[in-house]
Symmetry: none
Subunit: 587 residues, 2 copies
């Protein structure tokens, strides 16, 4: 039996408050200046870590973060739970069907983004072992540097996508799937490395066993276990106090699957992530339950993990600029280069390849964990470890501005500038989603140089991935077309309602067909954001269902803009507004 | 920097899952058999603790709960956070205004419930020191036994009140305020005791300083800090991502105030509790934010604390029946006796005094923490420590049945307890009201000793007075029968809809046949009120029309209860609830 001392409790609570408080303040500042909050949270860690606070007020610093004590360990427990839970909620948001349909680009990207940086790292280290650590362990050292460069930072990528509200977009799904496959292989390599260090040789049967076990576990979780969860959820909802029973159940599943993947030899976070995917797939998981889990984890646990990165090291002492730059350059060229090559082969545009490559280049958060082991076994020197931490920070800091840079399109077209009286059907004849899409596509064909049937086909193709009924009687069938240069939105109103398979089971009365240029992924996101923001407001929706003329429709849309100043100014708004919507809250 | 080993992560995650899983399963079982879930959670701890699991599977037990390791310490961290957060959410629910209006009874009760058990404990121990520990520390020992008997178990009382949904009632407020004042003094005494042990004497100025500081802090938190929080909340809600910013802010305030009260010398949980009260008082704290915080803490953190009590000790080994019974008898007579005396003076009825005394008699949860210190300083022997733990468990187990016993009034049967999978027709064959009543009556006849035709006749008789289609697709044919002793509700779902002559002209899809005893007019009103409250909500109705299994139906009904806490507590509520319906609440 263990017991806390009075001072331990005081310091522990204050250090958690300091971590959470600065993380949130910096996260909010970054959100306001349109940068991902997670970058602010990492910087908050540097501020209250040994680098700044440790220099300015060393006594206070060593009082509130006493190294090697039970307080330090307590914080470590929360950080471990933080990163595990974070991956769990990232998984909840992932749509399995769209991952499975991604196909060759994701596979190519994962393969290249492991192989190329790994080759670069091993080579550099093989010819200059003295730079990174002891020459005695040349094989292990080169192997380690290769892994460090090839492994991405899944938690940071997931958080950036959550923050930018991109996790459900095609781009988000591609990036997250590639990062996950990439990192699973990274951890498999690492399991091999540990064997190499401990026994001096690689045991091929064990390696094969680990690889097979990983694949089997992932498949089992995403098929059998997913099926069982889906069958069990309604029973739990019926038999236990709601939503409490479901909250406990999902977290327990997450922790058990996390311990299984940890046991296999890859990190616990993968099990938590896969558990999230399996649970999030169930139509029985209600929005309200998901919201409670995500909000608490996102606002209490996750910031502790991100702020802890900066706490781990003094970024000024023992700083080796050359090593740090070398790592950063290797990661950026390796990751972005792999994406460009994979994109070239898969026929993806250069801009999109650069975009996804920038996302993949957020590295090192896991490298820090690997680095701790390597340091312990005297494989790398402290300078290398520091350089890895700095690389982790810089690439995480760089990745989202880079993404924003490549995402930037010419002008951000807003809904109000896109709608057009010629693209407005006050009374749809269709009764099914397919017919409605055909009817709207015919109208769209008046304005773009494509025939209605082709447009409808592309939209239905997208629809088959995931239906676009977004609830609240609104549906947003959409497609990105290489043939168009300008976005169009065709609006159809159905008095009877058309089933678009919305999560709330309600038929859609307002159908927006959104056609955007393939070259401008942002246009789609912007229009989706504005439509969902404006039309989730029941007052506005009712205004429209009752009035049918185009000018009445326009006046309702204007009211929407009036009621939501700065609408969708940052992508995160979509999220905030969705969460504030009264109807959805009941989920 | 500390790092977890692979096995540590696996075992930690599995032990947390085991604790949380068994706690929730037993909690749910207890909820079903109408006992407070917290009692189930404590028993779950005994089951997976050294007493049962440690005996049946000692190897597994010492693998999953390895004592003295970093894993054990990690769990301890979560338990500490669990109890602190639990008191925080209990505070959120407390209404300060009603506490301040309590007046003399609460003050008298707090005073007596400290003084009397303290006097009893000190006396018994003074004359029989050998029974409890070493005679060398007779003063400290007697002081300790006195404190142990006088201190209540604030977390358990808070949880019982939350579970029984009594925390906002006058009774709940009285009990919680008395317990808090009582426990604050208990901890003040304990601070004095530690001084006595460490320095061998009591330093009067220090004691006075601690007492004054406690009072000043409590007043400051409930006035100035409460005011500042109330001023700050709207700003945070406006400037930060909602509800995330508020969630982080409130938890940070809770932890900072917790560390302040810990610093003063009373336990951290008081600061967390007072922080909860101060924050909960603000009208700016939205229901949605409160819900996220409460649900996550109640379902993830709190169970870990309660299950941990049973983990701490083997209840069979070194079991001293006499000591345990002595403690239990002393606590029960001391606490209930104090309440009766305080009630007598304040002019409170005997039943109410007995009720509140039963609540106050939940003791020992804090006594365990005190006992750990006392054991460490060799003041008490292990048998005494065990007896305290057993006393803690037994009084916690006893307190709620005792409360229920003294609370017992006429049984108010609720819809959820009345419906039954045997009285459920997922697809009615009938097309007319008369046929439907006959079809439902046949099913009813399976459970009550009347044939279907007779039941149908009585119901139709009532129906002829006024049709029972209450609109919103719901019909409630009903009858009061002298032949039945217990209410029954037969549920039928009709896909096509049956005309029950509702005022809104819509056919009924959900038909409830309500049969109640002639002797209990309230039963019918209660059931009608609950049915109309729940099923007037379109979301819930649609949920049911789409799903047809009984468990899906149950889960929708539960959602209805969840969305309407205190449903139909008084018949007037029907009206109030309609006005406060969740959609409107946001407005």
């Amino acid at each position: 039996m263990v017991s806390f001392g009075k001072n331990e409790i005081i310091i522990l609570f204050l250090s958690i408050s300091l971590m959470l408080g600065t993380a949130r303040v910096f996260g909010e500042i970054f959100r306001r200046i349109k940068l991902p909050p997670v970058v602010g949270e990492i910087l908050a860690g540097i501020l209250i870590g040994p680098t700044i606070l440790g220099r300015i007020a060393p006594d206070f610093f060593s009082w509130i973060f006493p190294t090697g004590t039970r307080i330090a360990f307590s914080i470590e427990v929360l950080i471990l739970l933080g990163v595990t839970f974070l991956l769990f909620i990232a998984g909840l948001e992932v749509n399995l069907t769209s991952v499975l349909k991604q196909g060759s680009f994701v596979l190519l990207l994962s393969a290249f983004s492991i192989a190329i940086p790994f080759a670069m790292g091993t080579m550099v280290s093989w010819f200059n072992p003295g730079l990174f650590g002891s020459t005695a362990n040349k094989v292990a050292l080169s192997f380690f540097i290769g892994i460090t460069l090839s492994i991405t930072a899944l938690p940071i990528i997931a958080k950036i996508l959550l923050d930018l509200n991109l996790i459900k977009t095609d781009f988000g799904v591609q990036l997250l799937s590639s990062a996950m496959i990439n990192d699973i292989f990274g951890w498999l390599f690492f399991a091999i490395l540990i064997q190499l260090i401990e026994t001096g040789a690689v045991n091929v049967p064990t390696v094969i066993r680990t690889v097979l076990l990983t694949i089997i576990t992932a498949i089992l979780i995403l098929t059998l276990i997913r099926h069982l969860i889906n069958k069990t959820l309604p029973w739990i909802q019926a038999k236990t106090a709601w939503p409490g029973g479901v909250i406990s159940f999902t977290i327990i599943i997450g922790m058990i699957l996390a311990s299984i993947t940890e046991r296999i030899g890859i990190h616990a976070i993968f099990g938590a992530f896969l558990a999230g995917v399996a649970i999030g797939e169930s139509p029985h998981l209600r929005e309200h339950t998901r919201e409670i889990i995500e909000q608490f984890i996102n606002n209490i646990f996750a910031p502790l993990f991100f702020v802890s990165i900066g706490l781990r090291i003094d970024f000024i002492e023992h700083f080796n600029l050359f090593l740090a730059l070398l790592f950063i350059v290797l990661v950026l060229t390796g990751k972005i280069g792999s994406a460009v090559i994979a994109g070239k082969i898969a026929g993806v545009s250069l801009r999109e390849s650069l975009l996804i490559g920038s996302g993949m280049s957020a590295s090192g958060a896991m490298g820090i964990i690997l680095g701790l082991f390597a340091l312990q076994f005297n494989i790398i020197n402290p300078e290398t470890f520091e350089a890895i931490v700095i690389m982790a920070l810089c690439t995480s800091l760089l990745s989202s501005p880079l993404m924003k840079f490549f995402m930037r399109s010419k002008e951000q077209l807003s809904l109000i500038e896109t709608i057009d009286s010629k693209l407005f059907i006050p009374a749809l004849r269709s009764r099914t989603a397919g017919d409605a899409i055909a009817e709207l596509s015919e109208i769209a064909a008046r304005k773009i140089k494509l025939d209605g049937a082709t447009i409808a086909e592309r939209v239905l193709e997208r629809e088959s991935l995931m239906s676009t009924g977004i609830g609240d009687q609104v549906a947003v069938p959409h497609a990105r077309l290489s043939e168009v240069q300008k976005s169009s939105v065709v609006i159809g109103i159905s008095e009877e309602g058309i089933d678009f398979n919305a999560y709330d089971g309600k038929p859609a009365h307002l159908i927006f067909l959104i056609l955007t240029p393939l070259s401008d992924p942002d246009a789609q996101i912007q229009l989706l954001c504005e439509i969902s923001t404006i039309f989730q407001q029941r007052d506005i929706r009712e205004e429209i269902l009752h009035g049918t003329t185009f000018s009445e429709f326009m006046s309702a849309v204007k009211m929407g803009y009036y009621m939501n100043p700065n609408i969708c100014a940052t992508p995160k708004d979509i999220d905030r507004l969705r969460r504030e919507s009264p109807e959805k809250r009941q989920g």
